[in-house]
């Protein structure tokens, strides 16, 4: 069920650009303009439309979007009052895109400050070259995207064998056929209707064997960066909970996957890379929250982690901030233990996810300390090495997941 305003009466479209939002009145106009320019410049021979899929924002997002001057027609859609969630916005977008008969759908965040018209081309053009799903590839500051770097990317890659660097990048391209698949999935958990939607879409594309490519955006993603110690909230539980839910759903698929394969790249070739703006992180706060987490959840962890992992975590906890290290292999095994516990225990999942946060902050603290003297490129290599560690941990996952079932 949704609210729709379609002033130009658009009945069909070859390509749709969707912009999900909630209270983005001060920022949505810019990505809307860029989307329109991109559609005109690169898809001028196709019917196109821009759709703002909103959560009934109260700050004037609808007016900001509809009053933006664009050559391309616009549609405003919203969930009913009181219904929130990025995933719910996407569900409306999938439904409308299928109804319009769209061949390609591009989605971009409403708070993007660095989007250019070329982003629309790079996310949309591969779909017209028979790719089913396009993930973004952009230079991010080494401290930005720590859930991606330390959980979503390495875990997804080790599970499903595809190297998609930004599986929760927020900006994607996908085919109308894949939108139809999304729409008909039964596994729309509450987390998927919220921030779990990105990893859910990426995972389904992988599990359905869609041709996947990564598209280089040419500019860094500049939006509203967040200090990982400052604001995690429910987003963490929604994203990680969805990863674990998908592990349960697609066990028959990922148990057969060994190692990982690179993914096709679309976009720029050699050239200068624009560096992203700095992201400030309070390392001491991350460390303090990790230590405090041990005080709060230590007994709980001892109960549900394997003895060896708990023992090693206790050793890490005893380290001072100067010289603090949370090794990647321990992090991989910790996440695997959490995934197994999540699978086993419906009644304590909420506590489980809450107790994972301090461990994630501890691993993030270690990662930041390690890559502090590194360039962005060197930090990328560190992340790749961590992915290798995750892939080498897969036998541990298989043993725990299937043999203890």
């Amino acid at each position: 069920m949704f609210i729709e305003e379609n002033p130009r009466g658009v009945q069909s479209a070859d390509i749709v650009v969707g912009i999900p939002s909630y209270n983005e009145a001060d920022s949505i106009s810019y990505p809307t303009q860029m989307a329109s320019q991109g559609l005109v410049e690169f898809f001028g021979n196709k019917n196109s439309v821009i759709i703002n899929c909103d959560n009934n924002s109260t700050d004037g997002t609808r007016d900001a979007f509809m009053n933006t001057d664009t050559q391309v027609p616009k549609i405003y859609m919203s969930t009913p009052p009181g219904v929130r969630g990025k995933g719910n916005n996407f569900k409306n977008l999938f439904r409308k895109s299928v109804e319009l008969g769209a061949e390609a759908i591009v989605v971009v965040d409403a708070d993007l400050k660095s989007i250019t018209p070329r982003w629309i081309k790079n996310l949309g053009a591969p779909i017209f070259e028979d790719f089913g799903f396009v993930a973004p590839l952009y230079v991010r500051h080494k401290y930005d995207g720590t859930i991606t770097n330390n959980i979503a990317y390495p875990l997804t890659r080790a599970l499903y064998g595809r190297r998609v660097r930004q599986p929760i990048g927020g900006d994607f391209g996908f085919s109308g056929a894949l939108a139809d698949i999304y729409l008909t999935q039964e596994e729309w958990s509450p987390a998927v209707t919220q921030f779990g939607i990105d990893i859910w879409m990426t995972t389904i594309a992988m599990c359905h064997g869609k041709a996947i490519c990564q598209s280089y955006m040419g500019r860094p993603k500049v939006h509203k960066p967040k200090d990982p110690g400052e604001s995690l909230g429910s987003m963490f539980a929604q994203v990680i909970g969805t990863i674990f839910d998908m592990m349960i759903e697609h066990g028959d698929f990922w148990k057969e996957v060994r190692w990982s394969k690179p993914t096709a790249i679309f976009g720029f070739g050699l050239g200068e890379m624009e560096m992203p703006p700095p992201v400030d992180v309070d390392v001491e706060r991350l460390f303090d929250k990790f230590v405090a987490g041990f005080m709060e959840y230590g007994g709980f962890w001892k109960e549900m982690l394997t003895g060896n992992v708990y023992k090693k975590l206790s050793e890490v906890m005893a380290l001072p901030l100067a010289g603090f290290e949370f090794p990647a292999n321990l992090w991989a095994e910790t996440l695997i233990d959490f995934a197994v516990a999540y699978k086993k225990g419906d009644d304590r999942r909420e506590r489980l996810m809450a107790s994972l946060i301090p461990l994630y902050l501890g691993r993030t603290c270690s990662y930041i300390l390690e890559c502090e003297p590194m360039t962005i490129q060197q930090a990328e290599e560190l992340i790749e090495d961590q992915c290798s560690v995750f892939e080498h941990s897969k036998p541990y996952l298989l043993k725990r997941w299937f043999e203890e079932a």
Partner: protein, 126 residues
């Protein structure tokens, strides 16, 4: 017997690689052009592809993306006389990148690793 497809527009290179790799016990097929490459891969189903980058009529990096689209699971080793293409983001779609040399030790090692599905711990090795 594992089958390797060599894509290189230099006949001398194709002959050298074919001879050396056949001695290692691989079945080798070669092509000097990117024309019809995807059809060839579909027909021959090689276990691994060695792909030149700078060819007279084709850009190996673009061919690599086409291969990944239809056959993402086949290991591909980029083999170029130039190391500079490592700086092109498109090259990360390959399993390994080897700079051409008369000594094929590194290439043979990478072939073995790619066929076994190994991933390098040191990402700079790709």
């Amino acid at each position: 017997m594992k089958k390797i497809l060599i894509v290189d527009d230099e006949e001398v290179i194709r002959m050298l690689y074919a001879e050396e790799l056949e001695e290692e016990g691989y079945a080798v097929i070669t092509t000097g052009t990117g024309h019809g490459l995807i059809e060839l891969v579909g027909r021959e189903k090689p276990d691994l592809i060695i792909l030149d980058i700078k060819m007279a009529e084709h850009d190996g990096l673009d061919l690599l993306q086409d291969i990944r689209k239809d056959f993402y699971n086949i290991p591909v080793i980029l083999c170029s006389a130039y190391s500079s293409f490592k700086g092109d983001l498109k090259s990360i779609a390959a399993d390994y990148y080897v700079v051409k040399s008369a000594d094929l030790t590194e290439l043979k090692q990478k072939i073995k690793m790619a066929l076994e599905g190994h991933i390098p711990f040191d990402s700079s090795a790709t």
